[in-house]
Symmetry: C2
Subunit: 347 residues, 2 copies
């Protein structure tokens, strides 16, 4: 549809704007090394590109700015692949050289790396617990009337809840029950836990006294209330350095959204292993209309654990961010893999 020349010009304009954050004029473009047309020619092409919806003007006589459509086209067809600098590669490497033994550590390091190398805000969605399998259930009494229930998954994730023990239940009974549960539930995907608990196990427990019934209810409440997936945010202040965030009100709406968690979690979660780019209003949330989100994922084996994302202005260094995100996503997956599958853990 577009001519070679138009493609070139569009690309150069967007590249320049991503760098400068300033509307770019025809003369600026004509001076670039890889462009050999006069400013007048560029002007004509720009007018056409604007008519086609790829560019916009901020006011009637000023340089052009990429439109959302322009960015979309850029990301899909124009963007030149980004080569991470040696420095950047080393930075990532070092972060993962750290002796890391814990899930949270890895996630936090990754979030940090992402935000430091990009100057955008990184958000990592913790694992959807429901996709992992139960390893062990523990009830540890704290006093006569309270106990803490601990649930460990095969990925080493630990969930815990304190609860009060109803007086009619004897500690010994509780223990017996936990034993039964452990026996029957080991290895069951958390996602089926609830179901299995309600059918098989409920049957089994009914054979025992009514006290079991009561205790079981407590346990269920303590363990299976919905646990929202955890959000790890890095470099929240980075975005304040972007010129598009000079406006306090914008900052506030964005931060409120991040603080509130559920909406953004919903926005980020995605199930493909590809990297996905959502530009501006493509996010379908008003607060995001000037922002882009790039999401990737990390996994253990075939189980996809969570989402890793970068949040920045629509004027984003897409190419760099995409390279970096896919690098980090791989590194995370590798690390987790080495822990739970092979055995050659970094020690």
């Amino acid at each position: 549809m577009l001519t070679e020349r138009q493609l070139l010009i569009l690309q150069v304009i967007i590249d320049d704007f991503i760098q400068s954050a300033q509307p770019v004029g025809s003369r600026t473009i004509s001076k670039k090394d890889n462009v050999s047309y006069s400013s007048a020619t560029i002007r004509n092409e720009m007018a056409d590109l604007e008519e086609l919806g790829f560019l916009e003007k901020t006011h009637s006589s000023s340089g052009r700015v990429p439109s959302e459509k322009g960015y979309r086209f850029y990301v899909d067809h124009l963007m030149s692949p980004f080569n991470l600098s040696g420095q950047e590669k080393t930075f990532v490497k070092q972060a993962f050289n750290h002796q890391m033994v814990e899930f949270e550590q890895v996630v936090q390091q990754s979030a940090r790396v992402l935000s430091e190398l990009t100057n955008y805000t990184s958000i990592i969605l913790g694992p959807e617990v429901y996709e992992t399998k139960l390893k062990q259930l523990q009830i540890i009494p704290l006093s006569q009337i309270s106990a803490v229930a601990i649930l460990v998954t095969d990925t080493g994730h630990v969930e815990h809840r304190s609860f009060t023990i109803p007086v009619e239940i004897k500690p010994a009974d509780l223990e017996k029950m936990v034993n039964i549960l452990n026996e029957r539930l080991n290895g069951v995907p958390i996602i089926y836990l609830h179901h299995k608990l309600n059918t098989e196990i409920a049957e089994l427990l009914k054979k025992h006294t009514s006290e079991f019934e009561k205790a079981y209810q407590y346990l269920r409440a303590a363990l299976f209330d919905e646990q929202p997936a955890k959000l790890y945010v890095g470099g929240k202040t980075n975005i304040l350095m972007q010129p598009e965030f000079r406006d306090i009100d914008k900052v506030r709406t964005l931060y409120s959204m991040i603080e509130e968690e559920t909406e953004i979690a919903h926005l980020l979660r995605h199930n493909s292993t590809d990297i996905k780019v959502s530009i501006g209003t493509e996010n379908e949330v008003n607060a995001m209309k000037d922002l882009s989100i790039i999401t990737g994922s990390y996994s253990i084996g075939d189980t996809q654990l969570g989402t890793i994302a970068l949040l920045g202005p629509t004027r984003m260094e897409y190419s760099k961010v995409i390279s970096l995100l896919s690098l980090l996503s791989d590194r995370m997956t590798e690390t987790f893999h080495s822990w739970y599958q092979k055995g050659s853990t970094g020690e």
Copy 2:
């Protein structure tokens, strides 16, 4: 030192400024109901108060603004006690009526209440784990080569760490060791754990094979690396509504500080049970020079668990904040107390 009239005027000025955030002029004051002097008289007194260092001018011909010394004097001598409105009391009550079974829940609710009722940012410092006692240690193997260690304290706090099992250690040995440790360490304050481990227990373990020695090292590393106290922040965006935070740069320095955690944790931690007010530069950190911090504490029995604080501009509703903070601090302490001491838990 100051005359009655000066006290009155100073108080009224500060009260007004806390409300309006605008420099207050002599006429504004003379119009107040409880002030019966003409603007000229007020002007003279203001000039004196300025000379004494309690007030400042933003420029040569504008109303006065309280100085840091002014606020300090206000907090110490002038402030009138604040009566929480019925609405506010209900709000707090409702928040604590929720059936709460977990430490984190209580803390998060409290942080939320504080920030919502004040429109400032609340920060709660999690318990210093080292002040609580060990309840139980658990090692749960995940695979041939990895396991997760879980440490439960008597306050229901759960710490966990994944680690890799060195090949030379057999699962059975590990279990035996955990048993020994549990037997010997139950009820030991976490703060002594390290010491006790190094002396008594080390002795005990040395009697067994060298493999114990090795395993013990791993365990220690996994469990007793320093765990920074957790920070719960509520209403981070509230502060953006304060007129003194129109300036993005200020916002950035503050947020960076909160994000970085250690410095602010150090700033907040305090050991008295009183409420402490730190105004502006009294905080001895440059980023805090226009901010005040009010801190209180919460505890279980005699063990002080953590710090609860509010962060706002020096132009803060000190009186309200102090009432609220002490209310919340009591409520938290009560709640925890009811869990672990008496037995009349809210169920």
